[in-house]
């Protein structure tokens, strides 16, 4: 059921010129400009615009030149309106001319087997960052004919689309998988966590603890450890993945920053570049050690990128650029347009707490269910979940953490069968409190454990992780109530 429809290619596609063709290619050749160069474009009306010349893709027409403005936005300029293109500075990244896929048949497919350049982009930067791509809109392109978005960009395409990255750090890139995030499964979390552990697990110093031969090969030519890891990821379930990495890799000494985009990378309105740049700046500036973060727009403008603690964040809007929000507080850090990093002013929900010493625990047990209660919920559905062999149930209850009396029979049965039951709230924000009302007290008597202000999705992921590390309900309970990765905030 994959959309394989593509516009007809007129054969003029040219890798060496970043995919430009037609009038746009002629204009660039006349100017001696190459993709990655800083250019100043003078319009016929005399106005000027400075930007970085971006690669063009074979779907696109030959009538526009695309530059990335200092805001991070891409702007497409009609060549008919251009009087002159002047090269201001040669691109720092010389292989950017390869931008876009290599042709109709060799783009990074959803099978994740695409050939991947392993060499790092040349850079004057002192620090190294590893960019892992998992797929998603950030690694996708829009089909302007149908308006549909399909995943085609590799991690190196992504890196090379954003020349500014090379000024911030030397970027190694690698495709781990190529999936939209609605198709990211718990098994993918394991794959990703293992890859990160291989590549950066020994960054803290005691080399060899987790590093492997593969890791050495991948960070080719680099004896410097990675200052941090950027994970390009679809936004739909990015906060589930960030939660798993937070638990499985707690204590990793370098930051892991998940980055997505609400608009695909080739669109003028894409937030991919600003989010990636913000993540890279955060990594090279951050002195707080490790931690897992999500970096996305802090507002609808491009002036600030929010870095949210990976266990306190949620996608709260289907389409806005600032869809991600720290629940119960401001983001932990904000990267401003000038590259400055400021810790958020508040002292509460959004701030990370110090983690444990690094000792990766990369495992999970899928026999966990999230049950959202609602008036009319059929208790037989919970019964089926219990009978299917579930080891833990996370309730998304109402208000302070309630389910209706009609559920009590199945709740009691789950307790008797040794199923761990944790309570969160469908209010999303705020803390559970199960001693205030009789419903809460009744449920606690049957074994339901209030999970403070843990976000329901985070509690689900943590329960999968806890269930793989504990033999029984009591063991799961102990892990669930331990604040492993800032998933609960202080009262």
């Amino acid at each position: 059921m994959r959309d394989t429809g593509r516009d007809g290619d007129d054969g003029h596609h040219n890798n060496d010129t970043g995919g430009y063709r037609g009038a746009a290619l002629r204009a660039l050749n006349d100017a001696g400009a190459a993709v990655g160069d800083s250019v100043v474009i003078t319009y016929k009306d005399g106005t000027r615009r400075a930007g970085i010349l971006m690669p063009r893709y074979e779907h696109d027409d030959g009538a526009h030149v695309v530059t990335k403005l200092s805001s991070g936005y891409n702007a497409g300029i009609d060549v008919d309106l251009i009087r002159e293109i002047a090269v201001d500075r040669r691109g720092a990244v010389t292989d950017i001319g390869r931008g876009g896929s290599d042709g109709d048949d060799s783009g990074a497919g959803s099978d994740g087997t695409a050939a991947e350049p392993s060499g790092p982009a040349r850079s004057r930067a002192a620090e190294k960052i590893l960019l892992l791509s998992t797929g998603g809109t950030i690694a996708s392109r829009i089909d302007y004919r149908t308006g549909a978005v399909t995943p085609v960009l590799s991690a190196s395409d992504l890196r090379d689309s954003i020349p500014e990255l090379a000024d911030i750090a030397e970027i190694d890139s690698e495709v781990v998988m190529s999936e939209y995030s609605e198709n990211i499964m718990p098994e993918h979390w394991l794959t990703l966590a293992r890859r990160i552990d291989e590549r950066a697990g020994d960054a803290g110093g005691d080399g060899g603890k987790s590093g492997t031969a593969a890791a050495t090969a991948a960070s080719a030519g680099g004896d410097r450890p990675y200052a941090g890891i950027i994970v390009a990821h679809g936004t739909d379930t990015m906060h589930y993945t960030s939660a798993f990495l937070s638990f499985a890799l707690a204590g990793l000494t370098v930051p892991i920053v998940l980055v997505g985009a609400q608009r695909s990378s080739d669109r003028a309105s894409s937030d991919a570049a600003t989010n990636l740049i913000g993540a890279a700046r955060f990594i090279t500036s951050y002195s707080g050690g490790g931690g897992v973060y999500i970096a996305m727009h802090d507002g609808t403008g491009d002036d600030a990128i929010a870095c949210h603690v990976g266990t306190r964040v949620r996608k709260n809007h289907t389409s806005k650029r600032d869809a991600f929000a720290t629940i119960g507080g401001r983001p932990a850090f904000v990267v401003s347009a000038d590259g400055g990093i400021s810790p958020s002013s508040q002292d509460g929900a959004g701030r990370p707490r110090p983690g444990p010493e690094y000792s990766p625990k990369i495992s999970l047990d899928r026999r966990v269910a999230l049950v959202k209660y609602y008036p009319g919920y059929d208790p037989a559905h919970l019964g089926h979940i219990i009978d299917s062999g579930c080891r833990a149930v996370i309730f998304e209850g109402t208000g302070l953490g309630h389910v209706g009396r009609a559920m009590y029979g199945q709740v009691a049965r789950a307790g008797e069968r040794g199923v761990f039951m944790g309570m969160t709230s469908q209010c999303i924000d705020g803390r559970t409190a199960m001693t205030v009302y009789e419903s809460g007290r009744d449920l606690m008597e049957m074994g339901v454990v209030p999970l403070e202000d843990m976000i329901p999705e985070v509690a689900l992921v943590k329960a999968m992780w806890a269930a793989s590390r504990a033999g029984d309900s009591e063991g799961i309970r102990r892990i669930m109530l331990e604040n492993v990765a800032s998933e609960m905030t202080a009262r």
Copy 2:
């Protein structure tokens, strides 16, 4: 499992003095002050405080006098600190001295059978409002010994606790049920909707369409129709109930305003009074016809009560006074502290649209399930839901409206079996858009219907209502996509 623990009663409880006893009762008797009076209390240090003398409950000690301040807050004042109590104005509501329950054994219990005074409070007001109580924190009291909250106040207790109400309208009161809202089931929605239809269904003019003999008896002595109806309701599931009333009673010509409290009515910090007063002011000032609203604090202060459209609102915090929020916009109306009603400035999500002509459709079919998708969701759970005879499934998908490929088998099976499938987003805010990504297109091919920006809980309630009115999936689809009660906003 009900909490029946009560403080020992010393026998000095006195209904005629609003439950006051001990030193507090003596101070009030000395001043000739009765509950409901406006009083000015002079402290021994010379400062003064004006307020309305509130009833006291038998759980409370005899050392404090409680007054309601103009802010709506109750303040407990230690009698040892009081120099003088002066009566400024006699209470408008003379039966307020009955405040509190009538004793240990006769409070309104959770069985809803408590004796209920049927006479209206005496009032100088021109308009009549019907106050229906369903239970919840707003009709509850805190046990200061255990910190637990239990439901004991009847609708008339509630009315009488707030003397200001009598200045706004003549208030008839009635207990419909006494349940915390986590125990409110779809059948309760039917009971409540039928009661409202009986009491106010003919308010628009063509009398007798829905009115019954019982209704005439209940609005005793009143030939005036109700200007509106206030429903006191627990907050946990108030937005599910408001959604059902919105659909079942669409077109009712008088407003229905659901009101809850995040702190019980007898607590100093209770928001019950300000919310009820705001709802009453909204009803007597509103000239827009009918509609179902939820009235709760607009912020943490007492200066504004928000009136949210009943299909666009959600409880978004477990405990804050301003827990309720209009999704995607500002509330439709805000009632300010001086009683002024202002429509919200925005033109989008929060504004009600004109409803259809009143023709109550009070029915539902419980064979509907809300399925929140998450990574690792076991498709067998959906299979069980389908096999249980469900007629409609509302997905709470990720992002723009997705579920993972692993779900496709069961989704296709549901489609083939004629189960209606509607898609909403767990992002809560924002619009579904299923043509952008291949996952969405795949799901639509299997019969999943994107439900615009309908809130998941509202879509669930609407599907129960639609399923009772349609014979097949196509009939349900038609109703789901019709904007009945402002549940969808314009693109």
